[in-house]
């Protein structure tokens, strides 16, 4: 049973427009949510995180929104660029040592 669900396997967006990647979770006992980005033939790299006490965090073109009542997380990329084309993983980190990942969403940004 997946604790972190990314229900869209892929997303296609035009360059310059907004990309919205979604994530739903079942376990309320987390400290942080993190987004990672993965290019082919490379390991995932950290993108942005949000703690459980916040509802929004921004870093340049990337904003993450946390809706605890809906158990929903979203990553907004504005404006989208072709170099953003990658697989994006939503993950949560508890007070222990485990980071639990979703299945990933492949983003295509068309020029």
């Amino acid at each position: 049973d997946q604790q972190v669900k990314q229900n869209s396997p892929s997303l296609s967006v035009q360059e310059g427009r907004i990309s919205i990647l979604n994530c739903d979770y079942t376990n309320s006992m987390f400290d942080y949510f993190l987004w990672y980005k993965k290019y082919p033939a490379e390991g995932p790299t950290f993108l942005i995180s949000i703690s459980s006490i916040k509802d929004k965090n921004e870093d340049g073109r990337f904003t993450v929104f946390l809706n605890k009542s809906a158990k929903h997380l979203s990553l907004h990329i504005v404006p989208s660029q072709p170099g953003d084309s990658a697989v994006y993983f939503c993950a949560y980190h508890t007070g222990g040592f485990k980071t639990i990942f979703g299945a990933g969403t492949r983003l295509f940004v068309k020029a």
Partner: protein, 113 residues
């Protein structure tokens, strides 16, 4: 520049072979992890270690074991490789703080024939 290095980029092994995947980090991180990535399943945690000689099972430890004799090195062992262990294996490390991000290696694509 921080680095997690996995010893092999590609490996091809036969069913029943014992397989060693090596991982080294140069960041003096306490925590190290082994994940496998499969299409549609994301990254699944196999084992992790929070200190030298310490190890904890992740979500899918069956068929695997690990070794951490030195802080910088974490090895994943497939005692008797099977075809369902064909996968991309990713090693990661992190500092010992809540919410700390993971640093990943480039991965080892293992094919078991």
């Amino acid at each position: 520049d921080v680095k997690v290095t996995q010893s092999s980029r590609y490996l091809v092994k036969r069913t029943g072979e014992k397989v060693f995947l090596e991982c080294v980090q140069d960041m003096d991180h306490e925590n190290m992890f082994w994940y496998r990535q499969d299409p549609g399943l994301g990254l699944r945690l196999i084992y992790f270690s929070y200190d030298v000689k310490m190890k904890e099972k992740g979500d899918i430890p069956e068929g695997y074991s690990v070794s951490r004799e030195k802080k910088e090195r974490f090895s994943l062992i497939l005692e008797s490789a099977s075809t369902n262990q064909t996968s991309m294996y990713l090693c990661a490390s992190s500092a010992d703080r809540v919410g700390e991000k993971l640093f990943f290696g480039s991965g080892t694509q293992l094919s078991v024939l």
